[in-house]
């Protein structure tokens, strides 16, 4: 009579909208994501109130680690390869095609030119274990200056950015800045994080 029929089917849930949304978001993130390039050294950038955004391309980044080591990075594989070969020619170091290709996809590096071929021969996984000595910026042996010159020769539109660690001593930064000024790079950027509010 008034018997309640028990539903045998499990409570169904239409998941289609949820899946739609999930895939929409997945697609969005996939397309917008840019993988942070692997950094050779951890740099804790200082904060500032500046809101100028670093350009995505045509940029050269000079990283300065906490302990004063200097690293160099530039985008665009073609330019990098070209630049390496020219640098090699200047220093009398020959790079094989394999080494040049592996340099092109490298991120930042802090290796003197003469040690570069050996470093490039390592498998990418092995490179992580190697302590990079940094690029020499002394006035006697300023390889950074050559990198800057050849990089700008290959890509004149290059923007120079300095990514210094907040704890770096100013004398290293001074050397880098002086190198830039000597090479007529008078306008450059300092990479900073955004400060949320003015500090006390």
């Amino acid at each position: 009579m008034g018997k309640v029929k028990v539903h045998r089917t499990p409570p169904s849930l239409d998941m289609t909208p949820m899946v739609d949304l999930a895939f929409l978001l997945v697609t969005f993130f996939m397309l917008t994501t840019t993988f942070a390039p692997e950094e050779p050294v951890v740099v804790d950038i200082p904060k500032s109130e500046s809101e100028i955004i670093l350009p995505d391309k045509d940029r050269m980044i000079i990283s300065v680690a906490n302990d004063g080591r200097v690293f160099f990075d530039m985008d665009n594989k073609l330019h990098r390869k070209e630049m390496l070969l020219q640098i090699g020619e200047k220093y009398g170091v020959n790079f094989t095609n394999d080494q040049a290709n592996s340099f092109a996809i490298l991120s930042g590096f802090g290796i003197p030119v003469r040690s570069l071929p050996q470093y490039l021969d390592y498998h990418p996984d092995e490179r992580k274990g190697i302590q990079q000595p940094g690029i020499p910026v002394d006035s006697l042996n300023n390889e950074l200056a050559d990198w800057i010159v050849y990089a700008r020769m290959n890509n004149p539109r290059l923007r120079v950015a300095i990514k210094g660690d907040r704890g770096t001593n100013y004398d290293v930064i001074k050397k880098v800045v002086e190198t830039l000024i000597d090479r007529k790079v008078l306008r450059f950027n300092l990479i900073t994080g955004l400060e949320q509010e003015s500090k006390l």
Partner: protein
């Protein structure tokens, strides 16, 4: 969970040899797909860096070789800021003590800059970072220039002359602002 097409399981009602394939649910079990979608979603959310690094633009003057091209400034218009170790700032006007020591931030150098800017609109700030000062100090001071709308400033080398001024002045005014 999602509807799961029931195989032969639920079975007591099945009558005779009748083929009931037509009745079977056409719904697909979406659970694994959803799992995957959310896994990817989580991955991309976590790896995405939304806040792109910001930068400060710095324009440096070219090195002046010819002395004639150098601009002369009245010493009264010059505010010297020496960025010293341990987040200290020594500042003085012109070429002579008294030297005052202050710190960074709202009550430190910002106050000095605002006061001096108000007192002298022609003020030229010379930033002299010591070798032992940190990069962060330099970024902070450039930031303060922006905040206090100081237009005329330059980063110059810290010279031995500055050192004598500081050491000479430190004896007379040891009082620190804040």
């Amino acid at each position: 969970m999602a509807e799961v097409s029931q195989g032969g399981g639920g079975g007591g009602k099945k009558g005779g040899g009748k083929v009931r394939a037509k009745k079977a649910s056409t719904k697909i079990d979406m659970t694994p797909m959803v799992d995957l979608a959310f896994l990817l979603l989580t991955f991309f959310i976590l790896t995405t860096t939304f806040n792109k690094p910001k930068t400060m633009e710095v324009n440096m003057p070219d090195k002046v070789v010819d002395e004639k091209e150098q601009t002369k400034i009245n010493e009264k218009d010059i505010l010297n800021l020496v960025l010293a170790e341990n987040n200290k700032i020594h500042w003085w006007i012109g070429l002579t003590p008294p030297v005052t020591t202050t710190g960074y931030g709202k009550d430190g150098v910002r106050k000095v800059l605002l006061e001096q800017n108000r007192a002298n609109p022609k003020l030229m700030v010379l930033i002299k970072p010591e070798d032992k000062s940190k990069y962060e100090n330099m970024v902070d001071i450039l930031d303060e220039m922006d905040i206090t709308a100081t237009k005329r400033f330059a980063i110059v080398d810290y010279t031995p002359d500055d050192k004598t001024i500081i050491s000479g002045g430190a004896e007379t005014t040891t009082e620190t602002e804040n």
